[in-house]
């Protein structure tokens, strides 16, 4: 059974101006649909990656998975329990400690006035658990030394701080860790260290990752399954081999073509046309149709449903 089931998930933000401005300027309310009718499942002990450009809703989905945001509509089920509608407090409590998150910026996500050992045991201590020897054990597991327990975050480099964040995420022995751009703030060589650590821990603890990233090379290396987002909609979902070898959706094709390649010396890329449209007034039908090279009338009219093609899910009228 899938560990995480996301069904028809949507999130709308109210981005209206204050009411007085609306009255004076005769504007109506404005709503931004950050996530729109997204469906996917995450299998236990796998890595599910969400990729997309800025404004594609990947971080919003991540926050809804861990319960930092409430869905406007749709359901997030973790181990069969929907945190938003479940009434049994004991069940909610049990699930909550199974979910942890790692954020992008290791400088902003550690309290500068706390010692590392207090930061790491916080998820356990706040629930009244036994924290004896916990921080020391976790520090060794993420490749830091026991002597680091008494230090403050400013004494560490970016990569080491991200290790501390990972140690904190592991403290409550979670099943699911949502990683929001865990290596985007890090240099290539440090990124390699952190990604290797994440792979090792996944094997050791039987973890499930939801990996949010804009970096296609990282996603290709880490993921078992990749979901591509565009303007809050899931446009394609496939295993990395399939996605990179035979991308079905025109947006995925454009993204892969545009991404700089390390062996693309002097490659003449025909740069993609246009930019991501304004999510407050998204295009009709398929959100990608204004930039799509093969768009037809049906694409402007109807929003494509998710279809299965040879084990690949794609939301495009014309993909085959």
């Amino acid at each position: 059974m899938a560990l995480v089931k996301v069904k028809n998930l949507s999130r709308v933000f109210d981005v209206s101006k204050p009411w007085l401005n609306r009255v004076i300027e005769r504007r109506s309310k404005a709503f931004l649909t950050a996530v729109s009718e997204v469906d996917f499942d995450v299998e236990p002990r796998s890595t599910y990656a969400l990729v997309g450009e800025s404004g594609s809703g990947k971080s919003t989905i991540g926050k809804m998975l861990v319960g930092l945001l409430k869905p406007t509509s749709g359901v997030v089920e973790i181990e069969g329990i929907d945190l938003a509608s479940e009434t049994d407090a004991a069940k909610i409590d049990a699930i909550r400690s199974d979910i942890q998150m790692i954020f992008q910026d290791p400088y902003a996500s550690l309290n500068p006035r706390w010692r590392v050992k207090d930061i790491i045991v916080e998820p356990v201590a706040s629930r009244g658990g036994n924290t004896e020897g916990l921080s020391e054990r976790l520090l060794e597991q993420v490749g830091l030394s026991v002597q680091d327990a008494g230090k403050f975050p400013h004494e560490f480099s970016g990569g080491q701080r991200q290790r501390i964040c990972i140690a904190r995420a592991l403290a409550s022995e979670p099943n699911l860790i949502v990683c929001d751009e865990p290596t985007s703030a890090l240099d290539v060589s440090v990124q390699a260290q952190v990604l290797n650590l994440m792979s090792d821990l996944k094997d050791d603890f039987g973890l499930t990752y939801v990996l949010i990233s804009h970096d296609l090379t990282v996603v290709r290396h880490m993921a078992d399954k990749i979901g591509v987002l565009y303007l809050g909609r899931l446009v394609e979902e496939a295993a990395p081999e399939d996605l990179f070898e035979t991308p079905k959706h025109p947006y995925t094709q454009m993204l892969l073509e545009a991404a700089p390649q390390m062996d693309g010396f002097g490659r003449e890329v025909l740069p993609p046309e246009g930019e991501i449209p304004d999510p407050i007034t998204p295009p009709s039908g398929c959100a990608f149709h204004p930039r799509c090279p093969i768009a037809q009338d049906v694409c402007k009219r109807d929003r494509p449903a998710m279809r299965q093609i040879n084990g690949i899910r794609v939301a495009c009228h014309l993909a085959e």
Partner: protein, 324 residues
């Protein structure tokens, strides 16, 4: 070969601190020819931006050039002060920074920002400058340029703003553009557009470009030659294809091998042990020696050989180490 547009000779930048002098740029030399894109690549703290800032005279005191020479079109510019440097900036050297929003004045229409630069540096009148402003925006691919000159920076998207910044850097027709992480804040599809634009301008106008970035993919696609920096020093300099596919310096090799692309199909990524040294604790000899798998006693003591084109700053350069 023609004289280079920019020539940096043995450049060092020093910052005096309470704990002694640190050297974020240490004995760096390279040339950039007209119509050439030179990539400067390295991890954070490697001194790549500091070298760019030294060229354009934007070092923040107490950082200063302690040694070496900078020549631009046959003129020595590293000792220029105040007004002389200001005339050069914008006129001879254009600069593109990472964040397009903070490099534009939010209170001025972009047309005014362009004409101001041209009126300062070029012997032309206002009407001519306004005409050229529209042409400059058209050249960088902004649709409806004639109307958009009257827009404010906030009315543009991130990618369009970076195009405006490039138009601004180009409008006084400089011979050198320093682009410091110009696409880092942008999405992949917009990044491809900006790289294509930089390459076209470089080819059509013969502008020399110094492209500073940490992204190996951008380096591979955009540049002609690449300089790899480590702890303020040049580790390797050469044609981009040679450096990336057959790196001679163990650091370049480690850097390339640790990118996910090079490890495709493997379960683990290649790792370089340790981290780049802090600038106040750069080891003797080769700065990379504590992390280098091939280091010997010689590497720990003797200063490494100087780099020239197609060479690595290494006593034992790798031969025939293929990465990708």
């Amino acid at each position: 070969m023609a004289d280079p547009v920019l020539s940096i000779r043995d450049l060092s930048v020093e910052i005096p601190t309470r704990h002694g002098i640190v050297r974020p740029v240490d004995g760096v030399s390279y040339d950039i020819q007209a119509g050439e894109i030179l990539g400067i690549v390295g991890e954070s703290g490697a001194g790549k931006s500091m070298a760019g800032n030294a060229v354009i005279g934007l070092l923040t005191p107490p950082a200063h050039i302690s040694k070496g020479e900078i020549w631009l079109n046959g003129q020595r510019i590293d000792h220029l002060k105040g007004d002389a440097m200001r005339r050069l900036r914008g006129k001879e050297i254009g600069m593109v920074f990472q964040d397009p929003l903070t490099s534009l004045n939010p209170l001025l229409r972009i047309g005014d920002q362009l004409t101001e630069t041209m009126l300062t540096h070029l012997p032309i009148g206002r009407a001519e400058a306004e005409k050229r402003a529209v042409a400059a925006l058209e050249e960088v691919g902004i649709p409806g340029a004639a109307e958009r000159v009257n827009s404010y920076p906030h009315e543009f998207s991130g990618g369009m703003r970076q195009r405006v910044v490039i138009a601004l850097a180009l409008c006084a027709e400089p011979s050198l553009i320093i682009a410091d992480e110009p696409t880092t804040a942008l999405d992949v599809s917009v990044q491809a557009q900006i790289i294509a634009l930089l390459r076209r301008l470089c080819r059509d106008r013969g502008t020399a470009v110094m492209l500073i970035t940490h992204d190996m993919g951008v380096i591979a696609e955009a540049t002609d030659r690449v300089a790899v920096m480590y702890a303020g020093r040049l580790a390797e300099l050469g044609p981009v294809r040679d450096v990336l596919t057959h790196p001679q310096h163990p650091y370049t090799h480690g850097l390339m091998a640790s990118t996910p692309l090079a490890s495709q199909g493997k379960s683990r990524l290649h790792q370089i042990p340790g981290a780049m040294p802090r600038l106040d604790a750069v080891p003797d000899g080769c700065a990379f020696n504590p992390r280098c798998p091939y280091a010997t006693e010689k590497c720990r003591q003797a200063p490494v050989p100087r780099v020239s084109n197609g060479q690595a700053a290494c006593w034992y350069p790798l031969v025939d180490e293929k990465v990708i």
